[in-house]
C-alpha cells in the first residue's frame, strides 16, 4: 500500500510539474505569437482565449468572403445610432469638410487627415457582409482606403501591438490586433454602394473590419492611436465591448 502511495505521489508530482511547465511554456509561446486576447481573464477567459488563439492559428491570413455584385442587399439595415450632436450636425451641413482623422501614438509622423486627404490615397472597394452579433446581416459594397495605407504613411514604430480607434462619441472605442489592422480588407470606409457612406451606416468615416462581427466596424471614426498595450485604455479589456459584457474578439 505504501509503495503504491509513494509511486502515486511521485507520478502525481511529476505530472503536476510537467503539466505546470507545459502550461507555462504554452502561455509564453501563445503570448509571443499573439494568441491571447485582452479579455483572457475571468469566468469566460478560457473559452475566449481558445477561440481567439485557434482563430489566429487557422485564419490569420484569411480574407472575409466577398460576394458578387448581384448579392448586394437591396435594403440594408442600419442599426440605431446615438442622436448626432450639434457639432456633428454642423459638420454634416458642410458635407463633412471639417471632419478630421487624427493618427498618433507609436508612429513616426502623427497625422491629421481630412476626408479629401484620405481620398488621395489608393482606393479599394469590397463587397462584404455585415453580420451583427444579434443575428441579422446584409451585403454591401464598401469603398475607402485600407487602414494599412494610413498606418504606413504615419510610419509605425517597432513594438506596436494594437490599433486603438474611437468614434466622435468618446465613449465608443475599439482595438484590433495588427493582423486585422494591416489586413487588406480592413477599410477606412467613405463610400457605400457607389455613393457617399450615409450617416446611418457610419458616415462620413467608418472602419470596416469585415473578418469580425459588425460591432468592431466602428462608425464615425475620428482618432486612431498605435499602442503596444491596451492595459491603460478603459478597463484594459481591449475595447468598450467587454465592459458591456461583449467579447473583444468578434471573429466568431
Amino acid at each position: 500500500m505504501s509503495l503504491i502511495t509513494r509511486r502515486r505521489l511521485i507520478t502525481t508530482g511529476l505530472a503536476t510539474v510537467a503539466g505546470a511547465t507545459g502550461l507555462g511554456v504554452a502561455d509564453k509561446l501563445s503570448r509571443k505569437y499573439g494568441l491571447v486576447p485582452p479579455d483572457c481573464k475571468g469566468v469566460y477567459g478560457a473559452g475566449e482565449t481558445l477561440t481567439y488563439g485557434v482563430q489566429r492559428l487557422l485564419t490569420r491570413n484569411a480574407t472575409a468572403r466577398e460576394f458578387p455584385r448581384s448579392m448586394i442587399s437591396e435594403k440594408p439595415f442600419a442599426n440605431e445610432i446615438a442622436p448626432p450632436t450639434e457639432a456633428f450636425k454642423k459638420m454634416q451641413a458642410r458635407s463633412f469638410v471639417d471632419w478630421r482623422l487624427t493618427v498618433d501614438g507609436m508612429v513616426e509622423h502623427p497625422l491629421t487627415l481630412s476626408l479629401a486627404d484620405l481620398k488621395t490615397m489608393p482606393v479599394h472597394s469590397q463587397i462584404t457582409e455585415v453580420a451583427c452579433e444579434e443575428g441579422w446581416s446584409y451585403i454591401a459594397e464598401w469603398i475607402g482606403t485600407p487602414l494599412s495605407n494610413v498606418l504606413n504613411a504615419a510610419g509605425l514604430k517597432p513594438g506596436v501591438k494594437y490599433i486603438y480607434y474611437h468614434a466622435v462619441e468618446p465613449y465608443l472605442w475599439e482595438t484590433i490586433d495588427m493582423d486585422d489592422a494591416m489586413h487588406p480588407q480592413t477599410l477606412l470606409t467613405m463610400g457605400m454602394n457607389d455613393g457617399d457612406l450615409p450617416v446611418g451606416f457610419g458616415g462620413p468615416l467608418r472602419l470596416r473590419v469585415p473578418r469580425q462581427l459588425g460591432y468592431k466596424s466602428l462608425k464615425f471614426v475620428t482618432h486612431i492611436t498605435a499602442v503596444d498595450s491596451v492595459k491603460n485604455i478603459g478597463k484594459g479589456l481591449g475595447s468598450v465591448d467587454p465592459e458591456y459584457g461583449y467579447a473583444w474578439f468578434a471573429g466568431i
Binding site: G47, T63, R65, F67, S73, K75, E134, Y138, Q212, G245
Partner: protein, 265 residues
Amino acid sequence: MGHLHKEYMPGLRLSCYSLPVATLSPVRPKIVLRHVGIVRATHWLTVVAFLALLITGMLIVISHPRFYWGETGNVNMKPAFTLPIPASRDTVPTGYKYVMPDENGWSRYLHFEAAWLLVLTALVYGVWGLVSGHFRRNILPLRGERSWGAIWARMVKYLHRSPPDKLEEKSYNVLQRVAYLVVIFVLFPLIIWTGLAMSPSFTGAFPATAWLIGGRQTARTLHFFLSWALVAFLIVHVAMIAISGFWRRMRAMTLGRAREAEDDI
C-alpha cells in the same frame, strides 16, 4: 471494493459494458459494469455543455427572433418565420410593446466557452470510441438489425411494454443504437458545422462551410432547428430513463455499476 475493482479491469479495457463479474458470494446478484469511466465522464461533460449552450442560445436568439434562408437577412427583409416572442432589441418589430433585457454579451461568451467544452469532450469521446471499438460494438446497430423491420419490431416491443431481451442487459437495443448514432454522428456534427458557418472569420478561411449549406442565414436557421432536434432527443432520453428506473440508470451513469437483474432497459 478491492476485489471488485480488480474484476472490472478487463471490462474497462474491452468495452463499455463488461461481462458480468462474479462476486465472492454466489447468492448476491451479479454486478455488471454498465458504463466505463470515459463514457460516464464525457456524458456528464456533454450534459453541462449542452445545457449551457441551450440556455445561452435561447438568450442570443431573443435579440433577433426572426429566421431567414440564404446568405443575408434583416428586419427590412421578409423572414422565413418569426418566433412569437418579444425581442431584446427595440429595432425588431415583434408586435409586442415589451423589450426583453439584453443578455447577449455574457450569453455569447458562455455559448462559445461551452462550445469548446463540447468540442473537446467530443474529440476525447470520438477518438476513444473509434480506437476502443465502442462505436462498432455498442452504437452501430448489430448486423442482423440494420433494417426498418428491426427498428419497427423494437418499437412495437416498447409499445407493448414487453421486458427487454437478455442481450439488452449487456448493450443497447437497435432503437437506442439508431438514436445515439444520429445524435453523435449527425446532429452534433451538424450543429457545430452550422455554428462555425456563422463566423465571419472562420468562413473567410473555409468558405465552403457557408456556401455548402446555402449561406449564413440558412446556417443560423438550421442551427436553430438542430438545437430543437437535440432537445427532442433529450426529452425522450430522460423520459425513457424515468420509465426504466431513474435512480438505477443514474447509478449506472455515475458510479458505473448496475445489478444485472435490474438492468432492464
